[in-house]
């Protein structure tokens, strides 16, 4: 792990994890983010994950692909994923590039994202609370 400010943080909020990316990540840092997050989902028995990308000024094909992978992996581990905070310019660039988040859901901001997950985890048949 390199020294310096943390590039991302993964915090627990009830049964959800809030994963915030603080700064532009390069490809290997994105891969590390993916590994850390998937590991944390198992360790904390999280039912939902909110990925906050509001700090990112670019979501290129690799970043989008990584986020989609995270969503798919989290689902296989029993957690729902919501991506929140995609900036308007980023959204435009993504669409023009031909990118989408695929089956992974998105919400405008953290509040909306948590609300979405709440409905999702509460409504699921095996929801614990």
């Amino acid at each position: 792990m390199i020294a310096g400010p943390r590039l991302f943080s993964i915090l627990r909020q009830g049964t959800c994890l809030i994963a915030s990316i603080h700064t532009a990540l390069d490809d290997s840092q994105l891969v590390r983010f993916q590994h850390d997050l998937i590991a944390t989902i198992g360790r904390d028995r999280a039912r939902g994950v909110v990925i906050d990308v509001a700090a990112l000024d670019v979501l290129d094909s690799f970043a989008t692909c990584t986020l989609r992978d995270i969503g798919n992996m989290a689902r296989l581990r029993g957690a729902a994923t919501v991506i929140v905070g995609i900036q308007p310019e980023v959204a435009i660039a993504m669409v023009r590039l031909g990118l989408s988040t695929g089956v992974v859901e998105t919400a405008l901001d953290l509040e909306e994202g948590l609300a979405l997950l709440d409905g999702r985890t509460a409504g699921s048949p095996d929801g614990r609370r």
Partner: protein, 359 residues
């Protein structure tokens, strides 16, 4: 100075002087005033030498007092000298660095290389250059002699200097360029002529040719330094982020709207990632353009394996690694102009431009 009393304590017969007998007292006097042993010994020697020199003139029995006074005077003189030296020390500080032992040899090699470089110029170039630089002849009178204009002479002098720099570097290194492209590339770099550098594809040659990459280092700063372009060397993942941030910053200076900035940064990210993925090393050049319109051009070069089928690579979904296959075609959609030139085994150059909408 009053002479000390014990003159009569050593009734000395006239004749050969017993200098050795004076040593203890002189040494005591000097040692009481000068703590440093070596200096004290020197002063004792000097005192004895003076006493010996004057012994003919000294009255009998007065040798010892004479030696004592002499010793005091010698010490006082030394103090005075030291004081004067201290007061004047600032005047003798030599600010020139001490000459290094190899300086001479290096200077000789330098001269030899310069002489060799001069012989490689044409007769006309050499004589004009020497007349101007060494004899100080101005361009007007040179122009009159050569039947030309001052401006043309100045331009020719500039070209000659550029050539001289290249030939000097080659001569100093005792190498001959390995390919016929080396010399034109180095010349273009030396003259700082960007258009010529583009024509000879200097940046690509520097990636390929180790010799030129090394030789061109002192030439790189030449030419007017421009703040409307940025170069980013690309070797690792982190450089992708650096390149796209550099492009965004430069584009922001031109007043691109935020949407365009993000599109530019995203396109740079896609294209530069390909360098990291497929080639060992590359370079991204971001330039602001003024004509025909204001815009930004990004040139991403690598010396990698090249793309076997460019048309195929520009098709959506074409991917040779675990990606979405949207890199190149996606970048093309984000930019206004997009061109890929690739030679298998030699590398790939992607040039893309975005124009600023004038509203």
């Amino acid at each position: 100075m009053p002479a000390p009393a014990p003159a009569d304590s050593s009734p000395e017969p006239r004749g050969p002087l017993d200098v050795a007998a004076l040593i203890p007292i002189v040494r005591r006097i000097v040692a009481a005033r000068v703590p440093d042993r070596a200096t004290a010994d020197d002063l004792v020697q000097e005192t004895l030498a003076r006493v010996l020199a004057a012994v003919e003139r000294i009255e009998p029995g007065m040798v010892e007092p004479y030696a004592i006074v002499t010793a005091r005077n010698v010490v006082a003189t030394m103090w005075r000298d030291q004081d004067r030296q201290r007061r004047h020390q600032h005047r003798v500080v030599d600010l020139r660095p001490p000459q290094l032992p190899d300086e001479d040899v290096l200077a000789q090699e330098d001269r030899a290389a310069m002489a060799e470089a001069l012989t490689r110029l044409s007769e006309r170039e050499r004589s004009t250059l020497l007349a101007h630089e060494v004899s100080g002849q101005d361009t007007h009178s040179l122009a009159a002699e050569l039947g030309s204009t001052a401006g043309a002479v100045a331009a020719q002098l500039n070209r000659t200097r550029a050539r001289l720099r290249v030939e000097y570097l080659l001569a100093a290194d005792r190498v001959e360029p390995s390919t016929p492209r080396c010399r034109p590339v180095l010349l273009a770099l030396s003259s700082g002529d960007r258009r010529r550098q583009r024509e000879v594809d200097a940046a690509r040659h520097l990636l390929e040719c180790e010799l030129c990459a090394r030789l061109s280092e002192p030439l790189m700063g030449r030419g007017r330094s421009r703040d409307d372009e940025v170069r980013v060397a690309v070797r690792a993942d982190a450089d992708v982020v650096a390149a796209r941030q550099a492009a965004r910053e430069l584009a922001a200076r031109l007043g691109f709207p935020p949407t365009d900035l993000t599109e530019i940064a995203t396109a740079v990210s896609e294209v530069v990632r390909n360098i990291v993925r497929f080639a060992d090393a590359g370079e991204v050049l971001v330039e602001l353009l003024d004509s025909p319109r204001r815009g930004i051009r990004i040139t991403a070069r690598d010396s990698g394996p090249g793309i076997p089928d460019v048309q195929e690579a520009l098709r959506d979904g074409y991917s040779t690694y675990r990606g979405l296959g949207l890199g190149l075609p996606g970048a093309r959609r984000l930019m206004d102009e997009f061109a890929v030139a690739s030679e298998p085994g030699r590398g790939t150059t992607v040039t893309m431009t975005k124009w600023r909408e004038d509203r």
